[in-house]
Symmetry: C2
């Protein structure tokens, strides 16, 4: 019944999504098992081709992500992250519902902070 398959894009879309669902479930299960069995922490984030987001972390996704960002720090990395975050609209989305002038003010402050970090990184590099 079952055949060996090659790991390459499944052309048939319904089948592709079924496979995504099954394998994603397997991946999440393996992740939990890894953490429980070996006293470790892990997070998995997966976006389906249709844009849905699935996330699992042990003990919590945020715990592992905070630890990751805490450890991978460097001046360049921080500068890049601030820049990317602003470009990606993360701060703008966050400020949804604010008055427009408040939003402008917030963005100006964040831009200034970015410049400041860039300048300091350049001096120290």
């Amino acid at each position: 019944m079952r055949r060996k398959i090659e790991i390459k894009l499944i052309e048939d879309k319904p089948k592709r999504h079924t496979t995504f669902t099954k394998r994603r479930q397997g991946l999440m299960k393996k992740t939990e098992q890894l953490c429980e069995i070996s006293d470790s922490q892990a997070v998995v984030i997966a976006f389906s081709g249709t844009g849905n987001c699935y996330c699992l972390g042990h003990p919590h996704a945020d715990t592992v992500l905070d630890r990751y960002f805490g450890e991978s720090s460097s001046a360049d990395e921080v500068e890049r992250r601030i820049g990317d975050a602003m470009k990606s609209g993360r701060w703008v989305d966050a400020a949804t519902g604010l008055e427009l002038d408040e939003l402008d003010e917030l963005l100006a402050e964040l831009e200034e902070t970015t410049r400041r970090v860039e300048a300091l990184a350049a001096e120290s590099g």
Copy 2:
């Protein structure tokens, strides 16, 4: 030779670490396969019990993480992330090598930004 095992903490430390290594490799492989076969994006981050960090993403870890944070935005989330980042020493580590007065100045700016975001979040909430 092989026996069925229960998914609970392996008490023997060397054995535990061996299992961590093998299962982590399997998890990374599965993650890549999932992405290639189903047109999806995923990232796995794992910390061993000894504190080592292992990370894999498709197409890149940063790509998936930026997408994740972009989508999960909210005023509270941003406020929480900024606060956590400062507490975790992410900014301080990033600024290693800077003069002390430059560092103080940078931290003051970041603290001010945090307060500003908190204030705006409170007003809009």
